[in-house]
């Protein structure tokens, strides 16, 4: 085996509160692209930050990290400063905070060039802006980070990383904060520059699909250890660990099939418009959801999907006609509105934010019944049993339960008032894979048992395809495409939909 470009050997990171990384080893050869994959908290970022001496003073780092002949762990600051930003560069996850908000981007790109003795730093910075494909190119050198879009900021970060033609580029979740379509364009651009310059890359990501597309080898990390490693194709073809298999299996089994297309309308709107702070978030959306069916609303963040859901539930001021159970509710106010509300309920993405922190689970579950004066003995028990929770659980406080349990509580709370419609606003996005599937199965069962209609808000096209009967594609507050889910995913009519599907990398 040839001498690696960069090798981490038996690296551990300890904090006063506990151990973050345990005996991790990995290597990268010159010009090679390697991915480090794992869920958040698996220690993947910590490993690389530790190797480069970028952790806070509270961390204790042991083991070895070598760049060529140079040992980095415990190396003097001057040695590290010579390598960092010149031979090894870093692309961070959040370009908004990683870049200095008070310094023009051109100057930020130029700084590492002049710091490492490069000439004509300013001109070079402008050239780099062109190179990474920022719209407006060199002309944007005078802009401040907040004047750029998220994708453009990350391109600035990449320009900084490429500025001194490094040997190794470490990209730590470089596109997690970005939309799917932007994500693909940025990574494609990065990959193109990487090949052109022949540099090695370590891609740190929670997303195995990205690893498959951009890395030749992959390390899978869990709870601070490397649990599996190998050529990407081999790991994907035959994952050894159950954990890795869980990460790879994307969408749950298809749940929707052959439900009544002529059932009565339970939630509908005409020409719905929402604007706040002088920006319009939803611009004239019409839709209808029928009893027992699931309508998915897909789109990137900022496309107005969540706003649409909140407006439909009269939780957000809006113009246009809204109908619950066929009755127009746009003009209802006060007690009459509160009375009507039981027909449509909502379950949110973040089960930690969705439950009032000071209530017991029982109190949370029956809150709607209490507000409507319909509270009866045993209501909490029945509601908890319906979502597969032990009734004894009701005496607890939400803080003492897991994300999956909390999400069940949120569903129980919505179910308790016997609604016809539940809006599911990214209901599984913040849950681990295995828990995600349990929740989706629960939702499918409840739908079959009770004839519920779901308005399913998601950015995950895989989920939408598996779960929905119909789909609406939203872009900048407008519907760009709609139809039966099977039809839309198989034969998207719009370019934008095609891009979304492509970026989502749904596979066969």
């Amino acid at each position: 085996m040839s001498e690696p470009l960069f090798a981490i050997d038996d690296l551990s990171v300890e904090y006063a509160a506990g151990t973050a990384v345990v005996g991790v080893s990995l290597r990268v050869d010159a010009g090679e692209a390697v991915a480090v994959v794992g869920e958040s908290g698996s220690g993947k970022s910590q490993t690389l930050l530790a190797a480069l001496g970028l952790l806070d003073a509270g961390a204790r780092v042991m083991g070895s990290a070598r760049f060529g002949d140079q040992q980095l762990i415990g190396a003097p600051r001057a040695t590290l400063d010579r390598l960092r930003g010149d031979r090894i560069t870093f692309v961070f996850q959040e370009p908004m905070t990683a870049l200095d908000p008070l310094v023009r981007v051109g100057a930020q790109i130029a700084a590492p060039i002049s710091a490492h003795g490069g000439a004509a730093a300013k001109a070079r910075a402008r050239a780099l802006l062109e190179e990474v494909g920022i719209a407006g190119g060199a002309g944007r050198a005078g802009a401040y980070p907040h004047q750029l879009s998220g994708g453009e900021r990350q391109r600035v970060m990449i320009a900084m990383a490429l500025a001194n033609r490094p040997d190794l580029l470490i990209a730590d979740e470089p596109t997690t904060a970005l939309d799917a379509t932007v994500q693909k364009r940025i990574l494609d651009a990065l990959e193109e520059r990487r090949r052109a310059l022949g540099l090695a890359m370590i891609l740190v990501t929670h997303d195995l699909r990205l690893a498959r597309r951009y890395a030749a080898r992959v390390y899978v990390m869990r709870a601070g250890r490397v649990v599996e490693e190998g050529a990407t194709a081999a790991v994907f073809a035959a994952p050894r660990e159950a954990y890795t298999r869980g990460l790879i299996e994307a969408a749950p089994p298809r749940a929707a099939a052959g439900r009544d297309e002529q059932a009565p309308e339970v939630l509908a709107c005409d020409d719905l418009r929402v604007s706040y702070e002088r920006k319009s978030a939803v611009q004239g959306v019409s839709m209808a959801l029928r009893r027992g069916r699931t309508l998915a609303v897909v789109g990137e963040s900022g496309s107005g999907k969540s706003t649409l859901a909140r407006a439909l539930l009269r939780l957000q001021p809006a113009q246009g006609d809204i109908r619950w159970l066929g009755r127009s509710v746009s003009r209802l106010e006060g007690a009459a509105l509160r009375e009507a509300r039981r027909a449509v309920q909502i379950v949110f993405q973040d089960p930690f934010a969705a439950l009032s922190p000071r209530f017991s689970i029982d109190d949370i579950v029956v809150e709607g019944l209490r507000a409507q004066g319909r509270l009866s003995a045993g209501a909490a028990r029945r509601a908890l049993e319906a979502v597969g929770l032990d009734p004894a659980f009701g005496a607890r406080e939400p803080d003492a339960s897991s994300g999956g349990q909390r999400q069940r509580v949120a569903i129980a709370r919505a179910l308790a008032v016997e609604p016809a419609v539940i809006a599911l606003d990214e209901p599984t996005s913040s849950l681990d894979r295995a828990v995600q599937r349990d929740i989706l199965e629960l939702l499918a069962r409840l739908q079959a048992e009770r004839g519920l209609a779901y308005l399913f808000i998601t950015h995950d096209l895989g989920l939408a395809r598996a779960f929905a009967d119909d789909v609406i594609v939203l872009k900048e507050g407008r519907v760009v495409e709609r139809g039966a889910a099977a039809e839309v995913f198989a034969r998207p009519a719009e370019v934008y939909t095609r891009e979304l599907i492509e970026a989502a990398d749904l596979g066969p």
Binding site: L315, R338, R341, R342, F348, A354, S356, G368
Partner: protein, 346 residues
């Protein structure tokens, strides 16, 4: 910072116990005047001291219109020979008991047809550990009273500011839209009011009334509270658990009471540690300028001002109240420091 917090709590508890339980221990009235001990220096020994007793005895003799000689002070008794040109009027001996220094006097011996008598009187023992003020009142008792007044002002003033500010802020934040805009514009405008001047105007023009003090202080301090409560409400209002409650049909009053108020409470009470000392400080400041509480009540600001006036001849009059005020303020500061670092208050 947990250490600072505990230190602060201990300091405050000490000050509170001193001011509230102290009077029970000393059993001393704060308004009693001891003319014999005007501006007495602090001392751990009981009054009267031998020289004070001699001086007091001479004064009593003067009042009785007799001459005193052979004054001796020993074993808690004072004895002297009183003589005059006419027989001494024994009824005048009540002057002994009326003074701050002696108990009732007894005649031991009478000579020369009562023109010369030997009398003895027990010494009254009086401890003035912090000395006496320029009116001859026990500074310790005054100090305890001042501490109680300052604590009371701190509690009530904060309660006024807190109650009004939180209610105002929560309503503005939850109502949102135009209501919020108008309500908060009013707050912004009031911020431009030079408050110290405003409070001085209020108290100077309407006189020194205790209630007015709270109004003035509450009027100054509720603005921050309103902003804090409004900001919190605004962010809580769009949180998922509030939206969920709304969609369940829970009414606005119940949402404010059950979901929003409990979640603001922690921050509000943490802010109390910042607010209370500010209120105490405003009161002391007004009292210092002579616009605060009135005699016979007193407050730490009044005592500090009085001490500042007698710096030259009686510096202890400044030291004791200044020290108590500082202990009180430091106690709050230590607690507030901790809440400020945790709650990110600005």
């Amino acid at each position: 910072m947990n250490f600072a917090r505990r230190l602060g709590v201990v300091l405050l508890a000490m000050v509170a116990i001193f001011c509230i339980a102290g009077p029970l221990a000393t059993g001393r009235e704060f308004s009693v005047v001891y003319p014999d001990y005007v501006r007495a220096a602090p001392s751990l020994r009981p009054h009267p001291t031998a020289p004070e007793a001699r001086a007091a005895l001479s004064r009593v003799a003067g009042r009785m219109r007799v001459q005193a000689s052979d004054i001796s002070i020993a074993d808690g008794m004072a004895s002297a020979r009183l003589s005059a040109d006419i027989p001494v009027d024994l009824r005048a001996l009540v002057y002994f008991a009326r003074s701050d220094a002696f108990g009732p006097a007894k005649v031991l011996e009478s000579r020369a047809q009562g023109r010369e008598i030997e009398v003895a009187a027990p010494l009254k023992r009086l401890w003035l550990p912090l000395g006496a003020d320029p009116n001859g009142r026990d500074l310790l008792a005054r100090l305890m009273l001042a501490g109680r007044v300052s604590l009371l002002v701190g509690v009530l003033g904060s309660a006024v500011a807190l109650g009004f500010g939180v209610a105002y802020g929560m309503i503005a934040g939850y109502a949102g839209g135009k209501t919020d805009l108008v309500m908060m514009r009013a707050v912004d405008a009031l911020y431009a009011l030079p408050f110290i001047f405003f409070v001085i105007l209020l108290t100077a023009f309407f006189g020194r009334r205790f209630v007015l003090l709270f109004v003035a202080i509450g009027a100054v301090e509720w603005l921050d509270m309103a902003r804090l409560a409004r900001g919190q409400t605004l962010s809580l209002k769009s949180r998922e658990f509030v939206l969920a409650a709304r969609s369940l049909g829970v009414g606005p009053a119940a949402i404010l009471a059950r979901h929003i108020a409990p979640n603001i409470a922690g921050l509000v009470f943490a802010y109390l540690a910042v607010l209370a000392p500010r209120v105490i400080l405003v009161e002391s400041f007004l009292s210092f300028l002579g616009l605060g509480v009135r005699e016979p009540l007193t407050s730490l600001g009044v005592l500090v001002a009085e001490g500042a006036r007698h710096l030259q001849d009686a510096p202890w009059l400044l030291i004791a109240p200044a020290a108590l005020l500082m202990l009180l303020l430091y106690g709050f500061a230590f607690i507030g420091e901790d809440s400020a670092t945790r709650g990110r208050l600005r």
